[in-house]
Amino acid sequence: MTTSQLTSPSADTAGLEAFCCSGNSPTLHLIGAGVVGSALLELLPALPARLVALSDSTATVHARAGLPCRELAAFKRRGGSLADRPGAEVLPLPLALDVVDADIVIDATPTDVGRAGPAVARCRGVLDRGQALVLAAKDALAAAPGELLAHRERLGIHAVLGGTGASLRDQLDELQPRTQSVAAVANATTTALIEELEKGSTVPQALQRARDLGLLEHDASIDLDGTDAWTKLAIVAGALWGATPALHHPVQLDPAVVRRRAEAGSTTRLVARASRAGAFEVRYEELPRTSPLAVPCDRVAYAYELDGGDRRIHIGSGLGPDGTAGALLHDLQQLVAAGGAQ
């Protein structure tokens, strides 16, 4: 039988005093205007909040009265650089964040696990200023999960974990003492590849399908070799146990093995596993087709093995640019509702 889950976290009202410091709606600063950022720009007009700043790799545009979200989305989709916009300011990002001082910062920059230092410093600065932070980028959270989640009443991580981050955050008080191990099928790209291979497609055909679904990371190799899954496992293990993950050893997908398993009635998934005892592994595993982890490529699953033998399963569909933007919006809606508009 199912059991009840924890309710949403209460707002840290002291930390949200920055809300609504001007005007009568919370202010937003979006950093990163790639495919995810552009998709989010399309959704923001529905939110009772005001986009006051947008930063890309070239510059920042800001206006206290608010920016035209959809126009900026179209501009970025055409390949435009903010540095070419009238009024744009070329500022180091940390300075831009400080100058704008929006109520909520949304980080939709590309993940760079190898250079997480600047991302961590940036997130630290946002949170130390009392702002709220919503993440799509994974690098800072993978490098410093405990530090960032200490501010979880002001932190949105739904998009980081494929639309399951809010569940982890909201249930963390329960999951931390009870979870003995976790298994995740967290990378939808490899699931899409596997599904295509099981149908008889070649690897190039399968990769094209994943591309068509918008699931490929900037560098496809980090999907296939397990780096992306490892990063997400690091986030979860760090959040649960303060664990520092073992070094990731790249894995390989063997199409022949995938097809053989499918013919025998089972399936394959890239499964990331960690335990309280310190085990940490990412590999392509054979799974029964009825396994809760045998999610289709439009979903991800995180299964937390609890003391007592039960299993808490989080299933998310915040995938691809639109799904990730939707997950960011989910976090923003929660933060806006918690802070309230004046």
């Binding site: 199912t2 087709r289 009825t290 439009d298 979903r299 299993r311 399963i313 989080h314 998310g316």
Partner: protein, 337 residues
């Protein structure tokens, strides 16, 4: 959409298509069915579904909290002998279990679901499992699901047994359930959902059991607490209502109660061999409705009228009588001890 569910070991999940369109216009996004399989890895498959308070745990261990809701009829050596057959139990969509419903959606309202939606999800699950036509045994809400499956997905079905279910929800049953839902909605609005659900369940209990049974059990003078009389039947209803409300989500109750009332199937579309079991004393599913359903079925049909003092709850109580009907309906050599 995010789902968060807690399941025991042995629970399987089937992920429905990302956008699962419902009969009455809603869409479930990223929905799943939770199910369990009992019995050998190979063997005839029997899908078993019960009323709205039942779940995927059709049978289980002998310890009280491990027992399944139909343990007396499903298990090793029982009428549905799990040494010979595989029994598939599924949590209801929109219900209280681990299939997509209010509990798994963090309180987000589930659009209107119907037995036909559950039937379609079941058909997709059977296809995913690679199963050929399966037997289906359903009681109450489960019987409605079975009838919908037979009418709309005949390729999935070998034989159907529907207990205490007809082609429609009788307006009198709908009337009672509407009142129950108003009670629960009033309770939710007033901040006392659990108390309201207990009261609604108590009201429901009066529609399950017969006057004969209640009269035999509770015909006694009231006891007195000061100046207040306390009736034995009221104590019983209060206890049953509170026990139900302790573990049942009010929104799941609303969803499935409404689903019962949205049930409507054209029995003329059903060609699978069908056994209908109706209980003449059932206040919720009048025997006249079951007879009308039987007359309209297009395929081979057997109507069993089962006398019982338990009314609508006969499927939970009349173990011996049901056992012989099930063995005969599904083919004793195939399924039964």
């Amino acid at each position: 959409m995010t789902a968060s569910i807690t399941v025991s070991s042995g629970t399987h999940l089937f992920h429905l298509p990302l956008e699962f369109a419902l009969r009455h216009g809603g869409v479930l996004h990223g929905a799943q069915l939770a199910f369990e399989l009992f019995g050998p890895a190979h063997g005839p498959l029997v899908v078993v579904q019960g009323g709205i308070s039942s779940d995927r745990r059709v049978t289980g261990g002998e310890a009280p909290r491990a027992r399944g809701w139909w343990q007396d009829l499903v298990g090793p050596g029982r009428a549905l002998d799990t040494t010979r057959v595989r029994v598939l139990g599924i949590d209801h969509l929109g219900g209280n279990g681990a299939s997509t419903g209010p509990r798994s959606r963090d309180g987000i309202a589930v659009p209107a679901v119907t037995p036909a939606d559950q039937a379609r999800a079941t058909a997709l699950l059977l296809a995913h499992l690679g199963e050929g036509p399966a037997h289906f045994v359903g009681a109450s809400y489960g019987g409605m699901v079975g009838l919908a499956l037979a009418a709309e997905h005949p390729e999935c079905l070998a034989r159907l047994v529907a207990i205490s279910a007809a082609h429609r929800s009788h307006p009198r049953a709908t009337a009672g359930r509407w009142i129950q839902r108003q009670v629960v909605q009033l309770g939710i609005a007033q901040g006392v959902p659990g108390e309201a659900l207990a009261l609604a369940r108590a009201l429901a209990m009066t529609s399950y059991r017969t006057a004969e049974e209640l009269g035999a059990r509770f015909d006694a003078a009231p006891s007195w607490c000061g100046e207040q009389p306390e009736f034995a039947v009221a104590r019983y209803l209060r206890a049953r209502g509170e026990a139900f409300a302790a573990d049942f989500d009010p929104d799941a109750f609303l969803c499935l109660s409404q689903a019962l009332d949205l049930h409507r199937v054209d029995p003329r579309r059903i060609t699978a061999p069908t056994t209908l079991i109706g209980v003449p004393s059932d206040p919720l599913v009048p025997i006249e409705d079951v007879r009308a359903t039987a007359r309209a079925l297009a395929g081979p049909v057997r109507l069993v009228e089962l006398p019982s003092r338990y009314g609508h709850d006969a499927f939970l109580k009349e173990t011996e009588a049901l056992a012989s009907v099930l063995r005969e309906a599904l083919g004793a050599q195939e399924v039964a001890a």
